[in-house]
């Protein structure tokens, strides 16, 4: 019984430490851009974010639904507005 309990614990702990990213493949949707999930610790620069969003939008309906493309477009506008806000002049 003790052995079984230790094995269960070890299995659960191992499953918790395996990075979620390893399960993703290139063909899968980029959930980080789409829904802010499974993002790696690395932070994108605003330009890189805009570039990645443009690349995802270009994939079009082969990969994303119309609703998801709309969402990506909204995120692109948000990123562009953010860059404008950062660069805008004023005292």
């Amino acid at each position: 019984m003790k052995k079984i309990a230790v094995m269960v614990m070890a299995a659960v702990m191992m499953s918790a430490t395996v990075p979620a990213l390893a399960q993703m493949t290139k063909e899968e949707k980029n959930q980080c851009l789409l829904a802010s999930k499974n993002c790696a610790n690395e932070v994108d620069s605003i330009q890189k974010k805009i570039r990645k969003l443009n690349a995802e939008i270009k994939k079009g309906k082969k990969v994303y639904s119309a609703e998801e493309i709309k969402k990506l477009n909204a995120k692109l506008k948000e990123a562009e507005d953010m860059l404008d806000t950062l660069l805008q002049g004023g005292q």
Partner: protein, 445 residues
């Protein structure tokens, strides 16, 4: 038995711990850093910010200023985030070891100079297509910023229904009157936009500006009076294939103290891809008042700041001017011949043309020309001319990296007869033409 129980409890605890969903907070950092080295005959240290009144023999000066902006966004999920935005400015050599914004560039540094631009919550309301922004946030009107383009504390709700986008907002601009919470300055925003098709957008809006018991009814500090100005406007943008055109019209009515307000503004813009770049054109008109003694004022009423001498909270950046209008590159040296879009209650007639070229993926250049005149004159000088001047400016830049650019900029204003005999110039003469040349380093991430 005790050991078994302990093992089972431990296994259960670990299982429970892994089953609890992780609070996946996405930390987003962005920012910018800009350094400008300037040689100019009209600008100088921070005290030069605000309205530029050309003067004769102003001396050529050189200075360097720098700005950092840091933005941290704590994103709980796709529907909820806190946005914070900070700014640190200084001019090299200005001050050190003291407390105050826009300083800290002198020997020793150690200045307390962190400015908080924005702190607001941005969230979507579940089950309805409504986004809320609550707190100190950036806000630009639907009229290219000529009424307001500023950071302001308030609540803005934006709803999207198919092709319709509606925004309803309330901003408290000031609450510094005799009776706080009552003698306040508020702005109510109601904006609507409709995408007729992918090539045509039309919009309309109503803005209510209410300054209760204001000491700024006439634009400058004076006797406390109530100010209430209603602004109604329409705007549109159409893609006509080769050319994209846009524009707007605004009408204002209400009362500023004992004066009745009846003012208007209009704009038309166009841009087209020509050769290796984009050709742009803009026209702007804001109405002015020539007779400040009569009971009706036709002077356009933009939102201005009542706590600072550099008081503009409005812009017209599409003109891409460096000196005659506020400069999009402006930092502590934000200084312009027309600093507010009311142009000291005289209004603006302005025409602007420019060309942006991407010469190679790394090299870019642009050139602009623009003229400005007052719509009306309300000052008595040697000349009754409304023509204020024409600006020519240009920029050549190189992208050192994806997010680091360096550029050389130059601007020159040929002053108009409006300035004849002013600013210490001899009778019949115009003060020295303002100019600037500078090198800019700009990093954004």
């Amino acid at each position: 038995m005790k050991k078994k129980l302990l093992a089972v409890v431990a296994a259960g605890a670990v299982t429970a711990a892994t089953a609890v969903p992780a609070l996946a907070l996405e930390n987003e950092f962005h920012g910018m850093f800009r350094v400008k080295g300037t040689i100019s005959n009209y600008n100088g240290a921070g005290a030069f910010a605000g309205l530029l009144a050309p003067s004769d023999n102003p001396k050529t000066k050189n200075f360097v200023d720098q700005r950092a902006r840091l933005m941290y966004i704590a994103k709980a999920n796709d529907d909820l985030k806190l946005v914070t935005h900070f700014e640190i400015d200084s001019q090299w050599g200005d001050n050190s070891y003291t407390v105050g914004r826009n300083d800290g560039g002198a020997l020793g540094a150690d200045q307390i100079n962190l400015e908080t631009k924005n702190v607001y919550l941005d969230f979507n309301i579940p089950a309805v297509p409504v986004n809320m922004k609550v707190g100190m946030q950036p806000f630009t009107d639907a009229y290219k910023g000529i009424f307001i383009n500023a950071d302001a504390a308030g609540a803005l709700a934006t709803a999207k229904y198919g092709s319709f986008t509606n925004a309803l907002g309330w901003f408290r601009l000031d609450d510094r009157g005799g009776l706080t919470g009552k003698n306040a300055r508020d702005l109510l925003i109601l904006d609507g936009k409709y995408a007729v098709n992918k090539n045509l957008n039309v919009g309309g809006s109503y803005y209510l500006y209410n300054d209760d018991n204001s000491t700024f009814a006439n634009g400058v500090a004076g006797t406390a009076q109530d100010v209430i100005v209603h602004t109604v406007g329409v705007n549109g943008e159409a893609n006509l294939g080769l050319v994209t055109v846009d524009g707007f019209a605004l009408y204002q009515f209400g009362n500023a103290g004992t004066k009745h307000v009846s003012a208007w503004a209009a704009n038309a813009g166009a841009k087209a891809k020509v050769g290796i770049g984009i050709l742009r054109a803009q026209f702007l008109y804001t109405s002015g008042e020539g007779d400040t003694t009569r009971n009706t004022s036709n002077a356009f009423v933009p939102v201005t700041n009542h706590t600072s001498g550099a008081n503009a909270e409005n812009t017209f950046y599409p003109a891409d001017m460096r000196i005659i209008l506020r400069d999009k590159f402006g930092t502590t040296d934000d200084h312009a011949i027309i600093y507010n879009t009311d142009n000291q209650s005289q209004g603006i007639i302005g025409g602007f043309i420019g060309y942006d070229a991407n010469i190679t993926p790394k090299v870019f250049a642009n050139a602009n020309a623009g003229f400005v005149a007052t719509a009306k004159r309300n000052t008595v000088t040697e000349s009754s001319s409304k023509y204020m001047g024409t600006e020519l400016n240009a920029e050549v830049g190189y992208k050192l990296y994806d997010n680091l650019t360096t550029s050389l900029q130059g601007a020159y204003v040929i002053l108009g007869d409006y300035y004849k005999g002013t600013g210490g110039a001899a009778p019949g003469k115009i003060p020295n033409d303002p100019f600037l040349s500078r090198v800019v380093l700009n990093y954004a991430f």
